[in-house]
Each structure stands twice: as structure tokens, then as C-alpha cells.
């Protein structure tokens, strides 16, 4: 298995701050929300070079490892 066929998407949290508490229909903390066998929420986020990425753009092309990385300790 070639690593090149796998796309690693890492979400890096940089300088996040909670600016008040907006009304939300869903709780921001629900660890069971995304289940195995389900389609995860798509997104459109920029990488450090300013290029946009979404899950949909890789559909049919690559398996994805999506990592929510909060930094090391």
C-alpha cells in the first residue's frame, strides 16, 4: 500500500478563540455524532499555503485519514 494513495488531512488548530457563544442547533461536543458507516460532514478549509480542501474533492480518488490535531504536550 503506497502512502501516496492516501491523503492525510490534518486539521491544525491555530489561535482558536471562542468569541461569545453563538446559538447552535447541535452541541459542539457529541463524540458519537460521526459514526463508522456514515458520511462525515464536509468542509472547505484552507491549508497553510492558502489552498482550499474539502472531503468531496477527494471522493472517488483517495482514501483519507482526517486527523483532528490539537497539538502535543
Amino acid at each position: 500500500m503506497a502512502i501516496t494513495r492516501i491523503l492525510f488531512l490534518t486539521l491544525l488548530l491555530l489561535g482558536a478563540a471562542l468569541r461569545g457563544a453563538p446559538l447552535q442547533q447541535q452541541s459542539p461536543t457529541d463524540l458519537d455524532r460521526v459514526q463508522v458507516g456514515s458520511r462525515p460532514p464536509d468542509f472547505l478549509l484552507r491549508d497553510l499555503d492558502g489552498r482550499s480542501h474539502s472531503l468531496k474533492q477527494y471522493q472517488g480518488k483517495k482514501n483519507i485519514v482526517l486527523v483532528f490535531y490539537r497539538g502535543h504536550w
Binding site: M1, T10, L12, A16, R39, P40, L45, V65, L66, V67
Partner: protein, 81 residues
Amino acid sequence: MVERIKKEYNQDLTFPLLEDPDHKIIDRYGLLNPEAASRGLPHPAVFVIDKKGMVRWKFVETDYKIRASNEQILAALKKQE
């Protein structure tokens, strides 16, 4: 962090690092750590998503010191080949 990786492994990153500065995606995935909400930090999580766009494996942990191992992730990926 990117510079540290480049220095330690003597190579550029081979995958994109995405920014979620307002933790909108973290919230959408339900991963916001309530104990670190003021900093918008997620619980550590990994999702393996197949070419059809479906989640085939997930790892979510409330202890920030416990992370998915490379072996666990690779084993999940091998099942997709």
C-alpha cells in the same frame, strides 16, 4: 510545527495541514473539548474515510495524551485496499 517536522525528518510535509481557527468544523464533528472550549481545542480524533466518502474507522479519545497509533491507522487503511 511545520518547521520542526522539516528539521527533524529532513523533508517537507506530504499532506495538507488545514486551519480551523474558529473551530467550526471541530464543532460540526462534535469534537470540542468543553474543558478547553475557550481555546477551541478538539478532543484528539482520527477518521479513516474511504473513496466513497464514508467513515470506515474512527478513534476519539477524551484523554488528550492518548492518540491513535500509526499501526492502528494503517491497519484500518489496509482494510480499504
